[in-house]
């Protein structure tokens, strides 16, 4: 068990809906920006402005005029309670301000007070409240305990998405100089260096060379991990964690082997060395666009024909749903392929075409299950059909391993739980929130382990992988039980000229 400064919830057979207990998470506050440049680099005031009260209301007014979602969602809620038991953060913390509607109401009560007839003249009647310093701090604390996973939006009869409210609230906070250190520092790094981890070009190059050497040592095959290669067919944009964090890097090895076997030339880019786009987490269209434009610029500079995104959840949302808006049109790319493509779509196509020689038994030491990453599940698609985002990764996994089972159906697909670390919460100062938020997924995993003999859980999101690596030990599980989907692909993929034990016979890969 990892040591913790808070009570780690014990996993039960089911996740019961708790009775509310006010204020249990009020003390959890992620670090506020202390270096002004982490705000100013993003176009925000360096520290909390003096007239924050008026400026916050001004921003709220501005945003509800620019985002229909915000205006409609603030108006339409009837307090039916449908969402109240749907958030992973509420289920284990019992804090009613972690119920989706409770979280929304922190902003809604202020909206009502200043911008609606009923709230101006009958505030008590409709639950409208003044914007005070306490409310502002509540915004900061609780809007940074939302992973913007959209689970609540599935169950809302009006489709109210708390993620939209959280993003708006965070944008208001940023606009008055009350930004979160974790998100803003990272975005500043992307603007300056090109990726979330702040890895400079030579460091990436170094890592990739190391991977190439490993490939030669292990398989006797020169599998390339190209960087900044002009004229390549495909630009791969992948989360920077893939460059050196476990199990992410095993996924990167998998992508490299797939490209190698497909015989499709590819490259990564030092300037677009990050798939993630934290601009979305803070709700800032401008920052999100600035981060997204790097991908367009890299594609133009390298003269590629296709863009493929690596395994990353929120990144895939920005890529799939927003990239065309933010940085399009992509009319300079090959129109025969969707822009962008997910690496799972790419691999799935190759598997269907029979272009990969796969030995499923290479993964026989594992019984696998799959964690649907929240933003992939509820904000994107893969392939042509609705729900392809559930089928395609599973098809890939099933094509490369013999033992696969799903977790309980209420915890997968569109009903999947967030890993607990998404949306700008993957920071150690939010460990209590993260561990609590992981409880529903950990419960489902533990049940699958006990009932179906599951040993490993695969995921296609850098945040999920990092989060689970960190929280699995809190629940008595092993950190390496979380694996990358393309790690499995990499394991099973037999390279064409691969040296095999005992014989040097060349394997044919056409069916």
């Amino acid at each position: 068990m990892a040591k913790a400064e808070f009570d780690v919830p014990e996993l039960q057979e089911y996740v019961d809906v708790p009775e509310v207990e006010e204020g249990t998470m009020a003390h959890v506050k992620s670090f506020v920006v202390t270096k002004p440049e982490h705000n100013t680099d993003l176009g925000f005031p360096g520290e909390l402005v003096e007239d924050w009260h008026d400026k916050a209301l001004e921003k709220l007014d501005d945003l509800r005029g620019r985002y229909r979602s915000l205006q409609v969602f603030l108006d339409a809620c009837v307090k039916c309670g449908s969402c109240t038991d749907k958030c992973q953060y509420f289920l284990s913390t019992k804090d009613p301000k972690n119920m989706p509607v409770g979280r929304q109401d922190l902003l809604r009560k202020v909206y009502r007070r200043y911008f609606t007839f009923a709230g101006k003249y009958f505030p008590k009647l409709v639950g409208a409240e003044d914007l005070t310093r306490e409310t502002l701090d509540d915004w900061y604390n609780y809007y940074h305990q939302c992973s913007q996973c959209r689970r609540c939006s599935v169950f809302c009869p009006y489709g109210i998405d708390t993620a939209e409210i959280s993003m708006a609230a965070r944008e208001i906070l940023d606009s008055i100089g009350y930004g979160q250190k974790y998100c803003n520092e990272i975005i500043a790094k992307v603007h300056k260096i090109g990726n979330n981890l702040g890895l400079p070009g030579p460091a990436i190059e170094n890592t990739l060379e190391g991977l190439e050497e490993d490939m030669v040592d292990d398989f006797g095959v020169e599998v390339k991990f190209p960087l900044d290669v002009k004229g390549a067919e495909v630009l791969l944009v992948t989360p920077s964690a893939d460059f050196f964090v476990e199990p992410h890097v095993d996924g990167l090895i998998g992508y490299g082997k797939v490209f190698h076997e497909a015989g499709i030339s590819w490259t990564m880019s030092t300037t677009a060395s990050e798939a993630g786009n934290f601009g979305m987490f803070i709700g800032s269209y401008e920052n999100m666009r600035r981060v997204a434009l790097r991908v367009r610029e890299a594609a133009l500079e390298l003269g590629v024909k296709r863009i493929v995104f690596g395994e990353c959840g929120h990144a895939w949302r920005v890529a799939y749903a927003f990239l065309n808006t933010l940085a399009g049109p992509f009319d300079f790319l090959d129109p025969d392929y969707p822009v962008p493509q997910h690496i799972c779509e790419f691999t799935d196509d190759l598997i269907k075409e029979g272009r990969l020689n796969l030995d499923k038994s290479q993964n026989d030491d594992m019984v696998l299950t799959f964690h649907d990453s929240c933003n992939v599940a509820r904000a994107t698609r893969m392939g042509d059909k609705p729900g392809g985002q559930f089928e395609i990764p599973r098809n890939v996994i099933k094509a490369v391993c013999n033992n696969y089972v799903d977790m309980h159906q209420d915890t997968i697909g569109e009903k999947t739980f967030c890993c607990g670390g998404g949306g700008g919460l993957l920071t150690d100062d939010l460990m209590e929130t993260r561990v609590n938020g992981a409880v529903p997924r950990m419960t489902a995993l533990q049940n699958a382990m006990n009932e179906k003999g599951v040993t490993h859980m695969a995921a296609i999101c850098a945040i999920c992988k990092s989060q689970f690596t960190k929280v699995l030990p809190y629940f008595g599980m092993e950190m390496d039980q979380i694996v990358s989907v393309h790690q499995l692909v990499g394991n099973a993929l037999i390279l064409t000229t691969q040296k095999s034990e005992g014989d040097d016979e060349e394997q044919e890969n056409d069916d």
Binding site: E19, C80, T116, F155, G159, N324, P340, A379
Partner: protein, 244 residues
Amino acid sequence: MSFFFALLFILASLVFVVGLTLKIIQYAKTPVPLKIVTTPAPVTKSGVVLRMFREVVFFESLFKSTKWTWIFSWVFHMALLLVLIRHLRYFIEPDAVPAVVWTLIELVQPFGMYAGFGMVLGLVGLFLRRVLVDRVRYISAPSDYLMLLMLGFIGFSGLMMTFVVHTDIVAIKQFFTFNGGQLPADFPLIIHLSLVALLMLIFPFSKLLHVPGIFFSPTRNQVDNPREKRHIVPWAKALEEEQN
């Protein structure tokens, strides 16, 4: 009294129509800068129409969520719909509408009469849930209880007039069709009409905006085709041009 109610209903109708129209214009004019549909979602327009139909008629999302809330609110809303259709006969002359419409209104009469019970029953269920479930109690403001009580009393007073103390329906129809009728001074009727007027008055200023809101909800009404078709709104376009 008839004069007072005539004024009240003219005012209430004005507020209702103008207020709601302004809100709908506001929603329609506010841009949606990004594709934020909750997936899996339809990839065609007709698919979206079907999704919206299921949402509005069957409360699909609520059904996925909690069966108790779903059954109470679905019964209430459907009963309300029947009751509203039934009420059309108090405002419309048979020869003023196509025969089909009148036949429909006549057909609904017996169902509409009993639907009143469903309406009140649904409301009682919703009220109990609001009081008994601690999570729902936590999020409820006084207006949330009052809204249910108000609708409940509208239903109850209506049922009283239908089944217990009948009122002079012919006079009421003459009143509402501007044929000079005087409203009967019946207690249930006064309650009924006053609360209906109040409901119309607060409609554009309250959570009753969920009625137009659902149709404008981007997570439900967008087509899932961001890769196929570039989505861009004027303010985002302006930002793009300014920065390029």
